[in-house]
């Protein structure tokens, strides 16, 4: 009966995730651990499944809108995949309490980041790697094509490595880190960094999900309702998104994220 309760919660996670551009991990892991009392390592593994489902399902929509920078995505996936390997290896040596503390800290950090005033600066010149690989591109904005350049590629690649570590360790898409690196350091337009990040998180999650799956940490008892619920919720969210007040949902979600973050830290501190 309990897994039936998890299904509608996963639908809501998929729904909110698709409206706010999240993978769903920030909802699934706290629900499984704090509400259902599941060990955080099983929760992290199940959450990665939800990220693959949302990313793979949404990739076509972003590509159709010409917002995804494919070449940049493939290059940065080197960083995220090898980061995910490191994160998976770290997960074997970290205690549950440390994971709770990391997750709580991540939620508080994400909440703070979602509050910040976003700037959308553009790069004046291409980084040499960007020039060599043709990473500069264009995207449609208000009816016209806007050309952009890509700066600071090595720093972006290093940041993606860190994003990959957190993804594997905490069962999250690490979209916030990816977007910070892309629109903050590499000066990629925000719409492009958001779509490119969404395109990449499936590959990042797959790297560690495959390892967790073969180690036996992905349990069908929880991963099945989570996967089905997320697929349904994301499908529903994509359809009602134009009619929703995303700003209001975002504000409510930030408050929830901060409360849950504190709860996760408390759980970590109590061992």
């Amino acid at each position: 009966m309990m897994s039936l309760v998890l299904l509608p919660i996963s639908v809501i996670a998929g729904f909110i995730g698709s409206i706010l551009g999240l993978g769903g991990g920030v909802i699934i892991v706290p629900v499984l651990t704090l509400v259902f009392g599941v060990d955080i390592r099983y929760a992290v593994a199940a959450s990665l499944i939800s990220i693959i489902a949302t990313s793979s399902g949404a990739a076509a929509s972003f590509l159709k809108d010409h917002l995804t920078n494919l070449r940049l995505a493939i290059l940065l996936e080197i960083g995220t995949v090898f980061g995910a390997m490191t994160g998976f290896m770290l997960s074997t040596s970290l205690k549950s309490s440390s994971l709770f503390l990391c997750f709580g800290g991540f939620l508080l950090f994400s909440g703070a980041m979602m509050f910040r005033q976003k700037k959308d600066p553009r790069a004046e010149i291409n980084h040499p790697w960007s020039e060599k690989l043709g990473l500069n591109s264009k995207f449609p904005d208000k009816g016209e094509w806007v050309h952009y350049k890509v700066a600071n590629v090595p720093f972006g690649l290093a940041s993606m490595y860190v994003a990959g570590i957190f993804s594997a360790l905490l069962g999250i898409g690490s979209g916030i880190f990816k977007m910070m690196a892309m629109d903050g350091a590499m000066k990629v337009p925000m719409k492009v960094s958001s779509a490119t990040s969404n395109f990449m998180i499936g590959v990042t999650a797959s790297a560690s999900a495959g390892a967790y799956f073969l180690r036996g940490d992905i349990k069908p008892e929880i991963a099945s309702p989570v996967a089905i619920g997320i697929i349904m919720g994301a499908w529903l969210g994509a359809r009602v998104m134009p009619k929703m007040n995303a700003l209001l949902i975002r504000k409510v979600f930030i408050v929830v994220m901060i409360i849950v973050g504190i709860q996760m830290i408390m759980k970590g501190l109590n061992g």
Binding site: S3, S55, S56, K64, I78, S206, A211, F213, R215, P220
Partner: protein
């Protein structure tokens, strides 16, 4: 570059269908193994190392076909991004973009190595 984007769009549409198919397989497996009175989360409150092969052998002996089907669906879902990277490499090779094909190959090798970690740990 536009041709590359068109082909990638086709791959992504295939991925979306893949997500739906894996969802249906997982739903079938979950439905077959569903027990209304059981609390499936109780054994998962403490972590125990029990690898996939051992789990599959146990479910095979106990004839838990629902669980085995759910595992197949989950494996298919996890494999989708790997298939995407593989198809992207083929696309880059067809477009004679050697460096991008090499970058894609590095990502693919990384994915395979990462999967291997699950067997070794």
């Amino acid at each position: 570059m536009r041709n590359l984007e068109t082909m990638e769009l086709k791959i992504s549409k295939f991925l979306r269908i893949g997500v739906l198919i894996s969802g249906l397989i997982i739903l079938t497996g979950w439905g077959l193994s569903f027990k209304p009175d059981a609390d499936p989360f109780a054994p998962l409150q403490t972590y125990s190392s029990f690898n996939l092969i051992d789990s599959l052998q146990m479910h095979f002996i106990l004839q838990n076909w629902g669980k085995i089907i759910a595992y197949v669906g989950l494996l298919f879902l996890i494999s989708l991004p790997v298939i995407r990277v593989f198809l992207s490499i083929i696309l880059f090779i067809k477009q004679k973009e050697k460096i991008m094909a090499l970058i894609g190959a590095i990502v693919l090798v990384g994915l395979i190595l990462s999967f291997r970690l699950g067997i070794e740990t």
